[in-house]
Symmetry: C2
Subunit: 202 residues, 2 copies
Amino acid sequence: MTTQAARTPQQDRSRATRRRLLEAAVECLAELGWNGSTVAVVAERAGVTRGAAQHHFPTREDLFTAAVEYVTDERLAAVRADTETLPPPGEARTEAVVELIVRLYTGPLFRAALHLWVAAATEQALRERIVALENHLGREAHRAAVEFLGADESHPGARETVQATLDLARGLGLANLLTDDGPRRARVVRQWARTLDAVLIT
Amino acid sequence: MTTQAARTPQQDRSRATRRRLLEAAVECLAELGWNGSTVAVVAERAGVTRGAAQHHFPTREDLFTAAVEYVTDERLAAVRADTETLPPPGEARTEAVVELIVRLYTGPLFRAALHLWVAAATEQALRERIVALENHLGREAHRAAVEFLGADESHPGARETVQATLDLARGLGLANLLTDDGPRRARVVRQWARTLDAVLIT
């Protein structure tokens, strides 16, 4: 680690620190919620001094907003890479794609985002930034879903059906917050994939 | 008010106080979130002394858990009464029913429940009670949705499609937390009603 750090230029090291902070911030939010997630807690988890954390992210709001944005972009890119290994268009692919989308909404990232969104509902300092982030992530998620499902949005109802898929995924994420909703979710996902095939494949 | 109170037996007055506390608790949670919602704040809004509030609900957890349960039961009963004025089975009815269900998840009650659920994710004193409440409300909401939609759950896929409708409603509620998502939601609901008709009406 020390040798590697010595070899790495200042800029790379700074970027690596930033990434560690962002990943640790999402983990903290997911586990401890907004109240328990301070810059100090995140810095400690990332193995970074509090001063260094504050150099990268002057405020708590900066850190957590950037963290959810960064990890979502990372996860979407990973799902995009995964879709290359999926079966060809047809029922099996649709179900696999719905599973991939729903998985995005049932892990620690969704949990972290949920804590942040709910905090933003009552904290003015967060609200404006989260509304902007929600717009950005909503557009990205929609674009990705259209692409993964191979949906033709010029077909009547296709656009709304893709949106419903994301709304459904969000609802499934919420149902998974306090208990493991996996078995029920698997049945809902399977049936939804069949419905999607009927609406989207024409 | 004083005259009426003088005429009311002790028991009725106590029940009215309890109801005022429960309604005020949901309003507080929806507006101020879990952090801002104390027994004292609720008692003040309900026009009740803090001692009286504590007589009815010994702990903060008692008050807010009972409040979300009570108001949900009330709202479900109100929706049940509304369904008698709906059009006969068919496309128009399905859309009206989906609108009624979704409305349950996009108002102050859902917002209050969301704050409570998210607090329960990190507060041990709440968690167990909210898991029990979630089971109870989940069953009630499912039963109501089956009844309102006139779904025959012996049909393959019907049960999962009704569940998906509630998951979708939950996701739409979340999308409405920070901004007014009404116009988009109306389009998703309309398309969802068409999908439901195709799956449920056989």
